[in-house]
């Protein structure tokens, strides 16, 4: 028995180690985000359903939206709040490695991704690894059109709205709803499939009647292939945001009917409008944490805010703000 192998079973944070790589955090941030969006993009936005441009737009928007993320060498980054005001001091960014290689997923990860992709509508899939860790994918239902989204939101009396409109010459590319279970509506294990890899794939059914819409994502394109992505999600109270900007970015608070906060950030190759409004009443839902952690107890948590993000790649401020105009 090797002691160093035995140490694999524990985690330690008591020993103080000299930290000398503070400048590397921007590169690590960028590499991590690329991997995440590559993996999740492959899971949720297969190329046959969505043009590469859309994926690039969403990836770019996500990277740029990150607090502290920046892409240009020698630039400064600055966090701004909902009013577009600086938060903290501007900080120089280290030279990034834009060519950072995206690590290939190993076979096990690919197999897990395929299983997640095969989930039935509204089903909860939990991948439980041999080492005791587990991961889950958010529950989704595919959308076929913007009208379907509007109908679903209306039919379920959802607190989420569609606070934008799409010009007539734009077409729906892809979309989905994300679902949560209301408080008191648990999950039932449907199957636990052993795989040839180091994980078991569990499929859980949500209790009937408990589903509610916790978010959506819709993507549109025009005849030139330009794309707009709109995301909505319910959030927790602490999900307030500070937004990362770079030299040359423009941040401007907007006034939007029905929203408590709205912020436009115009960047060199994209523009994003963020909007947020508190809910009249918190919405309690069942956390799935205890399903992944047998030692934990069921938890009921609550959403308190609706958050919206409208992103346009190769779009300027006017092209986006016209979509949220009354």
């Amino acid at each position: 028995m090797r002691i160093s192998d035995l140490m694999d079973a524990i985690e330690d944070d008591t020993v103080v180690l000299p930290e000398t790589d503070a400048d590397a955090s921007a590169r690590i941030m960028e590499a991590t985000m690329k991997k995440i969006h590559t993996i999740e993009g492959n899971k949720t936005m297969p190329a046959k359903r969505l043009g590469r441009g859309a994926l690039a737009a969403i990836i770019a928007a996500a990277i740029l939206a990150l607090s502290g993320a920046a892409l240009a060498a020698g630039h400064m980054f600055q966090l701004v709040n909902w009013k577009g005001e600086p938060v903290g001091e501007p900080e120089p960014m280290a030279t990034p490695h834009l060519e950072t290689a995206i690590a290939a997923e190993d076979e096990s990860s690919q197999a897990a991704a395929r299983i997640v992709e095969s989930q039935k509508s509204g089903e909860l899939v939990i991948i439980r690894h041999a080492d005791g860790s587990a991961e889950s994918a958010e529950r989704r239902e595919e959308l076929g059109s913007l009208e379907e989204l509007r109908e679903r939101l209306a039919a379920e009396d959802s607190v989420l709205t569609v606070p934008f409109h799409i010009p007539a010459n734009w077409s729906f590319s892809q979309g989905w709803l994300t679902l949560e279970s209301a408080a008191g509506y648990g999950y039932t294990l449907v199957s636990a499939e052993e795989t040839d890899y180091d994980f078991t794939a569990e499929r859980w059914a949500a209790a009937e009647g408990g589903d509610f819409i916790a978010g959506y994502l819709v993507v549109f394109h025009d005849a030139d292939g330009e794309e707009r992505a709109i995301e909505a999600r319910l959030q927790w109270p602490e999900n307030e945001h500070a937004f990362g900007t770079e030299d040359g970015d423009r941040a401007e608070a907007l006034t939007v009917d029905g929203m408590e906060n709205a912020l436009l950030i115009e960047r060199s190759q994209s523009a994003t409008v963020y909007m947020q409004k508190p809910l009249d009443e918190p919405i309690a839902y069942e956390s799935v944490f205890h399903l992944m952690n047998p030692e934990s107890v069921p938890i009921t948590e609550a959403f308190t805010t609706a958050f919206y993000r409208l992103n346009g790649w190769n779009a300027d401020a006017d092209e986006l703000t016209v979509l949220i105009a009354p």
Partner: protein, 185 residues
């Protein structure tokens, strides 16, 4: 605004990318330090950054299984194992002092599952007390050479060796206890 690890972890479970950015901003240097310690001279700075981004990818994917309050320890564990994976891929191994622990019962290792091993190890480490626990972790968990441990902990090399041997004996005792109790069950 996210202000602490618990908030960040809850947001991360909601797939909030700002929460991941929060973790990376605060822990990239720490995670890199763990990887550098375990990887020693065999990992180039680029390898360390690549492994660090793998660590945060795993944090993103497994946020639901991270225990609140143990976020840093989780990152440490994943970083250590990622560094070891990279070392193995390179065909390298850090020379550790008497890393192989000979047990009287050859089947004992197979009898203990991962959780039981962790319990036994925690008991052994708790029983060591400071500074034995820290130097044991520095050597067998973080892969630090004895000379560097002696320098970091302001001890002479022979003291480090003596205390490390004591730690190995303590671990052996706990393993044997763990094995016996396991058989009794």
């Amino acid at each position: 605004m996210i202000v602490d690890e618990r908030q960040a972890l809850r947001a991360l479970r909601r797939r909030d990318e700002a929460a991941l950015a929060w973790f990376i901003t605060r822990y990239a240097a720490y995670v890199s330090a763990v990887i550098r310690s375990v990887g020693g001279i065999f990992l180039a700075p680029e390898d360390i950054e690549e492994a660090a981004s793998d660590v945060f990818l795993i944090l993103w994917q497994n946020a639901a299984s991270v225990r609140p309050g143990k976020e840093k320890a989780y990152l440490s564990g994943v970083a250590r194992n990622k560094a070891r994976e990279r070392l193995r891929a390179l065909g390298q191994e850090l020379p550790l002092e008497e890393d192989v622990l000979a047990l009287p019962d050859a089947d004992m290792e197979g009898d203990l599952n991962r959780r039981e091993q962790a319990d036994v190890l925690r008991r052994a480490l708790l029983g060591m007390g400071w500074p034995d626990r820290e130097l044991f972790l520095r050597h067998y968990y973080y892969g630090q050479p004895l000379s560097r441990i002696a320098e970091a902990m302001d001890m002479n090399l022979s003291t480090v060796k003596t205390r490390l041997r004591r730690g190995r004996e303590r671990l052996k005792e706990e393993l044997m206890k763990g094995g016996i109790s396991h058989e009794d069950i």
